[in-house]
Point group: C2
Chain length 200, copies 2
């Protein structure tokens, strides 16, 4: 009953994260309702993403003329400190703090299985190669594993730590505690314990 | 810090229903992660929607060679019974019941203000014109206002009923009551009252 073009659209978009078949259907109708010119703009916005490059060192997106992204190319950032993060949006949050002046490795979204995908292993290997090729003692100064402090984030962090510990003098994770603006009364036990043992 | 192409994508997609800036950002990264070929497919899926036509009688989408959609063209459907619905997806739900054999008017998503948009008034006028031009006594047999039975759906239904009552012998709305599979214990008072007064 629906035109083929709408079915095709739904088929493509329902697979995307947090868009199911229902939202994809609604999206199609909304886009059609927006008119021809808007539709052309949206299609261009999607195909424009083809021009985005992925840095072969940290795997973050960029649009530099060089192969390497501007963060990796920045000479004022520490070359021997690396932060392993899961998602590009995590990197953006960290950058917004303006407190971190080292390099990154974007690992990509981790599965719940606690096993790294083959392409994620390749990314870890890329980091190992950077360290062994470029560090004078073949060791980084510090590697910060910045995964979400959830049960399965912690599991993955331990696995990655094991993989990398021979490549760095120091391994660390993000500090845990009561978030700024949070209340002691409502903090969970785990968080409160951390804030006690890691008191500043 | 993000490439222009990603910013452009976010700008276009964050305005869509139930996609905010955060989801649009995540979507961009997911699409880029999918690779060049996938991106081209997605862009095609969007621009393919340009080929979808909108029926000038009922305003549902279609891809017929004719101007008019297949529902409006179907000769075995009653020509003098019309159902006013809000969204295309509502029409699809009604069609799936296979119980309705009349025509439709897709009004488009109603605002919470209880005021019809200018283009929605044009759609109501299109229906009035069909009735006065094509019905022998310039009256439809029945017009069913099939809006969601919510507070503001009911408000809009009353307004539309007022607009159309001089164009139809009978005005009706969808029956209310306990949904099949529902439990009396958990039905709200309003629903239960309806199921009593409209008992079958």
């Amino acid at each position: 009953m629906l035109p083929e073009e709408i079915k095709k659209f739904i088929e493509e978009f329902e697979k995307l994260p947090s868009i199911g078949p229902r939202q994809a259907t609604r999206l199609a109708f909304r886009l059609i309702g927006g008119g021809q010119a808007k539709l052309a703009e949206m299609a261009n916005a999607v195909s424009g993403l083809k021009k985005v490059k992925i840095c072969p060192r940290c795997f973050f997106v960029h649009s530099q003329k060089t192969d390497v992204c501007s963060i990796c190319a920045e000479s004022t950032r520490a070359n021997d400190v690396f932060m392993v993060i899961e998602k590009e949006t995590d990197l953006m949050s960290i950058e917004r703090t303006k407190k971190y002046r080292g390099k990154y490795l974007v690992l990509g979204e981790l599965t719940k299985s606690g096993v790294l995908e083959p392409w994620q292993k390749l990314r870890l290997n890329a980091l190992k190669k950077i360290i062994t090729d470029e560090m004078s003692d073949k060791m980084a100064k510090e590697i910060i594993i910045a995964l979400n402090p959830t049960t399965y984030g912690d599991l993955n962090a331990s696995l990655i730590e094991k993989e990398l510990k021979n490549y760095s003098h120091k391994m660390s994770r993000l500090g845990r505690g009561i978030p700024t603006g949070g209340e002691i009364e409502f903090a969970d036990e785990e968080t409160l314990s951390h804030s006690l043992t890691r008191r500043e």
